[in-house]
């Protein structure tokens, strides 16, 4: 069969036609699956919230948002059966990982002590930066942040004068992770009157998170 000649008109028409078909087919698939994607995202987020919170009866499914002009933090407050505040999960992030964006969900008890954390998004180097998934929970030397309170401990890497041992060979990722954790703490303390009085707002003694 004879192929179409390669003149400008044909080329333009064919390419435009293919682009249109591509856009249409992609859009169709997207609209079919859109809800599933949204659902997966929400499940992942709420799963992370449940995992890091202390014992609770219910929590705010709609988070309180905090914007310091650079980063956005979202706090999910949790309560017991008598509606007393028991703690919160705060989602925060950093764009300064080795590769790029890191999202963390940190769980605090009423006093701002870190109970647990879940890294909800990262693209760091596997075996190195990706170890933030469990490194800072491991009770080995001084790397764990669990049980620590940002008002009494300096949650930065040793290189920056902090108390936490970074991942060997992944200082940049560790630094970004801890930055996100400190941001989470700030959101936590500045947003709950109950906490602010409990920790005497010692937050100012901690290095202010700056976006570097």
């Amino acid at each position: 069969m004879k192929k179409l000649t390669s003149n400008f008109k044909n080329i333009f028409l064919v390419l435009t036609g293919i682009i249109l078909l591509a856009v249409i087919s992609s859009s169709v698939v997207h609209s079919l699956v859109k809800d599933k994607i949204q659902q997966s995202k929400e499940e992942k987020l709420l799963g992370a919230v449940r995992k890091v919170l202390p014992a609770y009866d219910h929590f705010d499914t709609k988070p309180t948002e905090m914007n310091d002009g650079v980063e956005v933090m979202r706090m999910y407050k949790a309560y017991d059966k008598q509606n007393h505040f028991v703690g919160a999960a705060v989602e925060s992030s950093s764009n300064n990982g080795y590769i790029g964006h890191i999202d963390v969900m940190v769980g605090f008890d009423q006093l701002g002590q870190i109970l647990n954390y879940v890294v909800t998004e990262q693209n760091e180097t596997p075996g190195l930066g990706a170890r933030i998934l469990d490194w800072f929970k491991t009770n080995h030397k001084n790397q764990s942040i669990l049980g620590k309170n940002a008002s009494t401990a300096n949650l930065s890497v040793r290189n920056d004068g902090g108390d936490i041992d970074a991942i060997t060979g992944a200082t940049i990722t560790s630094r970004a992770f801890l930055f996100a954790v400190r941001n989470a703490y700030f959101a936590f303390t500045s947003n709950t009157e109950q906490v602010a009085s409990a920790v005497n707002l010692k937050a100012d003694s901690i290095q202010t998170p700056t976006n570097h």
């Binding site: 682009i19 591509a22 856009v23 992609s26 859009s27 997207h30 764009n95 300064n96 080795y98 590769i99 790029g100 964006h101 693209n123 180097t125 290189n159 060979g169 200082t171 940049i172 570097h212």
Partner: protein, 191 residues
């Protein structure tokens, strides 16, 4: 992130070829001679800089506001292909020899992970326009640096007496691995 940090990161600490594997395919072909390595890098730098501006605007003015992020790949590909085509036309009207050289590189340019990869990385890092441009130029520089080093390495490899099965790609890959290891030594720089 200061521009200097972005530069150091893209060229040394996080060299896009040796740590992100972008442009690996092209490096092995293009770095056979130093001349072609330099010329190819120059063209890549040109296209990356121009494309970065266009891609940035498409991302921030069209894709993000209208929730069309899923069309990103398609949009960027159309843009890159169009740009490579346009550059070809421009070279054609400038000089015949420029155009001839360009034609040789065209397949490598279009099917090159570098341009698209750098665009995607920029979006991931939430760079603004100026940071993206610096990143693009730095990445081209990093690519060029590795090409040059590789051109030198490939010259040396020709002189070796290798087991038959290791000749060609295997030894080049192992050399690349050792080079990647060497570059890992730069990790401490970006503080």
């Amino acid at each position: 992130m200061t521009y200097f940090l972005i530069f150091i990161s893209a060229v040394f600490v996080n060299n896009i070829v040796l740590t992100q594997f972008l442009g690996v395919q092209s490096i092995f072909d293009v770095s056979k001679r130093i001349n072609s390595a330099v010329r190819f890098t120059a063209v890549v730098a040109l296209i990356m800089t121009v494309s970065s501006v266009l891609i940035y605007f498409i991302q921030t003015l069209v894709l993000q506001p209208y929730g069309l992020e899923y069309l990103r790949t398609l949009a960027f590909i159309v843009l890159i292909v169009g740009l490579v085509q346009l550059t070809g036309f421009t070279f054609k009207s400038i000089s015949k020899s420029w155009f001839m050289n360009y034609e040789i590189y065209r397949p490598h340019l279009t099917a090159n992970c570098v341009i698209l990869g750098v665009a995607l990385l920029s979006i991931n890092k939430n760079y603004d326009l100026s940071e993206y441009i610096v990143f693009a130029v730095s990445s081209a520089f990093g690519f060029g640096l590795v090409s040059l080093i590789f051109a030198g390495i490939q010259e040396q490899l020709k002189l070796l007496n290798l087991p038959k099965r290791m000749e060609g790609l295997p030894i080049i890959l192992i050399a690349a691995g050792l080079l990647a290891m060497a570059f890992m030594g730069f990790v401490g720089i970006a503080k």
